[in-house]
């Protein structure tokens, strides 16, 4: 085990989950939980834990072991280093799980204006994640990056994702026309299934470089695979440290005892609030610009894993909790009014940092203006922390359940810890809701209608289905 991959020391990774403010002693009996509400879930967790550990041992839950793939990591870092030297732009063509982890960690760990900094200052290529087929967005991106200085990373396990493959076809054609077909392999790298699929075949035929999506790892659990690690390493994130943090989380999140396992407690508390206190909304509210896209990554993880119609034995359950992203302090001036006074239908999960990587001193100024002068001498770090604490306290005083995930500092290790912990929390929540957290059957119908409308062979009947049904009534259209 290389030095940089050693077990993290507790001080620099350990994330604290403080859920005092969801308990009755904080928010009262009508809205809060008692320890008993959590204890009564213990039998489910005992079973779930046993099952999870067995499935892991049998190789059926490979996401658990991703922090320990250190051999693959060396190869990936060499690839990234090579790319870095050759290009100015690295563009991910991917959507959903192929995009969100990369976005979240890039934003968390690289400078806020990374892509706007001159090369000397940022030292690493610019990173773009193209996760939409908006023609305006795509045209803007293509006019911004010069293909001669750009590497495109096509990320699709199956190689048939319509959005990603459309982007790839556009890019392929552009490179072929501007640089010649023989240049394609210097500007395109695939992240795909290790064995099968269109991209794998194409890579073998045309000599494209590839990275593997390990078998059995779904998109929303892929941030610790090359799906996330390659672009992040290219952009200058210390991915070894990130995995070191995830490895530390693996330790705490595989503890059998519910009350000692932060991932299990996160799951238990949210489930109990959902079932007993009608909290069908989970607001994730980081107090840091850099963590804002962690909330987007989590929104996919939580929504797509737990939002399910059928239980494992086929009953209609329509499970799930709707994730909402908010950013502190910004959204205190947008959403907190609703959180304080609106329906009692949500739980707020703050993400706070005990220290910031930079601070800004507020100068002593305007001494005769008492409504401003008090700010002087403080730092912005103090202000944002005071506002987080104040908002938590105000919500609590209003009987609104909230909890805080506290990072010692935003580092590759603590971010790795956070993401891994939330992944385990999501998977174990599947047992609570009695649904499969690893599938996503609900997106198929929309895809089929799209295929039908776009003329994909085999989907003509969906085009016919699309056109069937009552025509829209004029009464219900207004302009």
């Amino acid at each position: 085990m290389a030095k940089s991959e050693k077990k993290a020391s507790p001080q620099d990774t350990m994330i604290e989950l403080d859920f005092n403010n969801v308990m009755t002693h904080a928010v009262g009996g009508e809205n809060g939980l008692k320890a008993d509400d959590i204890d009564e879930l213990k039998p489910i967790f005992t079973e779930a834990h046993k099952d999870l550990m067995n499935r892991r041992k049998d190789g059926n839950l490979p996401f658990y072991d991703l922090p320990f793939q250190t051999k693959d990591l060396r190869r990936l870092r060499r690839t990234a280093e090579d790319i870095r030297k050759r290009v100015e732009n690295f563009v991910v063509l991917g959507i959903g799980g192929s995009a969100l982890g990369t976005r979240a960690v890039f934003r968390a760990l690289r400078p806020l204006f990374h892509n706007m900094l001159p090369r000397a200052k940022r030292r690493f290529p610019r990173l773009f994640v193209a996760d939409n087929v908006d023609p305006e967005g795509m045209a803007s991106l293509l006019s911004l990056v010069d293909p001669r200085h750009t590497m495109f990373n096509v990320v699709s396990k199956s190689g048939t994702t319509a959005e990603t493959m459309s982007q790839f076809m556009v890019v392929y054609d552009q490179i072929r026309r501007s640089l010649g077909k023989s240049s394609l392999k210097d500007h395109v790298i695939f992240t795909t299934d290790p064995e099968k699929g269109i991209l794998r075949t194409m890579a073998e035929e045309m000599g494209f470089q590839t990275c593997d999506v390990p078998a059995g790892v779904g998109g929303r659990f892929s941030v610790f695979t090359p799906v996330g690690l390659l672009p992040l390493a290219v952009a200058g994130v210390n991915v070894a440290e990130m995995l070191r943090g995830a490895a530390a989380a693996e330790e705490s999140c595989t503890r059998a005892a519910l009350w000692n396992n932060p991932a299990y407690l996160f799951a238990a508390v949210n489930y109990a609030l959902r079932q007993k206190r009608g909290r069908n909304i989970l607001v994730m509210m980081p107090y840091a610009d850099s963590l804002s896209e962690v909330a987007d990554w989590f929104a996919q993880l939580w929504a797509e894993s737990l939002g399910k119609r059928l239980s494992t034995d086929g009953r209609v359950v329509m499970a799930g909790q709707t994730p909402v992203k908010a950013v502190g302090v910004t959204d205190q001036h947008s959403q907190v009014q609703l959180y304080m006074e609106g329906p009692q239908d949500k739980v707020v999960v703050f993400i706070a940092s005990s220290a910031y990587r930079a601070d800004v001193k507020i100068p002593h100024l305007f001494k005769d203006q008492k409504d401003l002068a008090y700010l002087g001498g403080h730092t912005m770090g103090e202000l944002i922390q005071a506002e987080q604490a104040a908002t938590a306290k105000a919500l609590t005083a209003a009987g609104r359940p909230n909890m805080t995930l506290r990072l010692p500092k935003i580092t590759p290790a603590s971010v790795g810890y956070l993401l891994y912990m939330l992944e385990v929390a999501t998977v174990v929540s599947g047992y609570l809701y009695d649904i499969d957290p690893l599938d996503q059957p609900g997106v198929e119908l929309g895809k089929r209608f799209t295929y039908g409308l776009m003329g994909r062979p085999g989907f003509a009947s969906f085009k016919a289905d699309f056109q069937k049904g009552a025509a829209p009534k004029k009464k219900f259209i207004v302009g």
Copy 2:
């Protein structure tokens, strides 16, 4: 009336609200509405309309008349033109309503990578909106923009907003030290109350330029005042066209007849779904990268206006509907699984565009791969539109209410129309919920705790209150 401010022609601004897919004929009796459900709200709308028009006539709802402030507009555009010539960066220091409208319209109407384009290509200054006190974010911004080439726009009606004023103090000090105190007035412009407040006094004493926030216009209704118009005009948005679109919306959104008024119908449908069908979540899902921040702007408008504990006569109602932002097609791969199969607790509002400002042709490629070749020959515009229609159809088939706001094209006029329409829909919804949509009492307690913690004179008792109460129990902290 100047030529550019003439009434918009219907073709280029008229937004269509199609709510067929919330009706029983589309989603069934259990989840859908009948025309009767809307008709029975007519008496409330009759009263509401009368009251709104009276209040407007008495000058108490000035937001209604903002599209017609053409005299002020000429002065503002001159100011903007002067600033544009002098600086490379325009930085808004503002939060909540002082930031969100600017962000939304800038993103909608300027190129996606505006700030990354070379000056010759973008033609207008870069625009930044600093709406957080994250010290890392602030430090990054200050190291990016050279104060010699930057204008800072301090936006605060009261002049006491802690976040904005802290930022201002930092910037003030930086300019004073680097360029000298006499340069301050060349690099700072205030947007504030026309008569009172700290910024007004300071402007008079020190010669700062100012713009007015008209009396009686709250932050979340201020996008058509200099709060939004100044930065947008500086960044190259055609604000006259935007107001022209808002003026066209004023026509359709002040119609007395519920069934002819798109703003009233938007309000009625969402209210009926909330009250009769348990839809406590409203998802706004634009199918355009450029409209993504319109959903953030709307989230403040809807949440802060309608999320209220007390009715106008003092009953505890805890009203409101939680706005959620999603972006198509991106979030089909993140949130749509939940929308299709999760709890029946939401309505999805799509924003679609009938035409895009640019399109990208998908080339004919990979002809022997039938799972890809079908994409060739289409455009990305066709793909994104097919996916929007397919997602709406799939949701409908699953009994999930959804509606579509369709813009003919994304232009300054249609965006102005859209925002104005949503403002009227929000205000009239206040009558349905029987709450005051113009206040935000719920944010006060958190502010007071912050003031107490930061040592603002007069708030010591809130610091004491903050510290009171049970200490967190160790049992409910895990790491």
